[in-house]
Symmetry: C2
Subunit: 244 residues, 2 copies
């Protein structure tokens, strides 16, 4: 249930500015707000935001930080570059709901992204995904994989219909993913439109039981063989296990 506990922590960005000048990531827990398990991007998307003066407490409620370093519930089993540059090697990973300053002393790297509305899914695909996808934090899901991905300028210069054609009609991204539900839980985070320039466009996060590892490997192989992956210019795979 580590992920769920992480989701309960909300981080004050002013605290984090201060934190980044200290030596420990631990102070991040100084400010916390309840973060309900029933949360979904849609629920938080609208009416709550009524002020035009965002303040230190006013973070994007869909923001998550993936903190690579010496702490956190997830032990890094392997970290390798699939395409382009690797990430610095780290021992452990923590997933924090909120914003962690990249300069935090205990973090070798921090990757941030926000869950958002779907981009390339049709109603029929979405309904199937919603019906079959499991929640994160299942007790049996002791394996996780973080795969940060960047797509190239050519991808982003395409229009939505062209991207959808490649993503689904020719690469079957949704259809392939659907085959591995409910074994593989996933959450997609978007980085490209954050306030900061992030090194990746997406952070993909997967959770599954150890016994489903071969199925997960097969899923990865099929997606990486697709036309869509011609547009990926950086990809790192970080394999994790919950525990010490």
């Amino acid at each position: 249930m580590d992920i769920l506990r992480a989701q309960e922590r909300r981080i004050d960005s002013e605290t984090l500015v201060a934190c980044s000048r200290r030596t420990s990531l631990r102070c991040l827990g100084a400010v916390s707000l309840a973060f309900g398990l029933g949360w979904s991007p849609e629920v938080l998307s609208g009416a709550e935001r009524t002020t035009e003066k965002p303040n230190a407490m006013n973070l994007n409620p869909r923001l998550f930080s993936f903190v690579g370093g010496r702490n956190g519930p997830w032990k890094v089993l392997e970290s390798r570059a699939v395409i382009g540059e690797p990430l610095s090697p780290v021992e452990r990973l923590e997933v924090v709901a909120g914003n962690v300053a990249p300069g935090s002393a205990d973090a070798a790297w921090v990757l941030r992204g926000a869950t958002s509305n779907d981009r390339y899914v049709t109603r029929s695909e979405k309904d199937q995904l919603l019906a079959r996808q499991p929640a994160l934090g299942r007790s049996e899901a002791d394996c996780a994989v973080l795969i940060p991905i960047r797509k190239n300028a050519k991808w982003w210069s395409l229009t939505t219909d062209e991207r959808r054609q490649i993503f689904e009609e020719r690469s079957h991204h949704n259809a392939i993913g659907l085959e591995y539900l409910p074994a593989i839980a996933r959450r997609l985070h978007h980085c490209r439109d954050l306030t900061e320039a992030e090194p990746f466009d997406f952070l993909t996060w997967f959770e599954f039981a150890k016994s489903d590892t071969a199925a997960f490997d097969r899923l990865l192989t099929r997606l990486r063989a697709s036309e869509e992956w011609n547009y990926v210019d950086r990809e790192v795979e970080v394999r994790l296990f919950r525990g010490s």
Copy 2:
């Protein structure tokens, strides 16, 4: 050419953290980088970002801040709520390429957004738009209008195909906009996936000559009458004129 000058200013976010504790927005100019006129979102989208440690200088290169207060080249002629809450009244507006801290003493409000890849445009529509749309900063375009918009949770829970159906097939958003080119220059900024929770989902920015005001008014009336606007739950219209 005020907008173009504003685009030449790149802001160091650490400077801005310091700024927010002082009394003047003027210090924002302390750090500036060249910002080429030939810039487009696609050009900056990929290969430049190679580090996994974003630092203070590492802002989203597509980020703009709209600063309402007592300074800036744009005089506010009128600011009114079209749907939902108004913005605080201000005298002037400055458009800054980069991140301005909302707490800046001279600013009554700061709205931020980033230009991004197109969401609901087909290749044929995009090609027509690119062929006809003028650049910002034309010397004859002495009128500008900032229209921040928020869409409701229902909109964001729709899938892309459903949103596209409403946006274009039933509301003709692109087709209507195309009729007013090249008179009306525009730039769209996305706020929904920034690191902070912003009060609006989009900041739309228009520039045109005073003699095209009636055409612009007609454009607004037609878009606001469309089905798409059923999903708008906050909209403010800020009319601006360049000069004193």
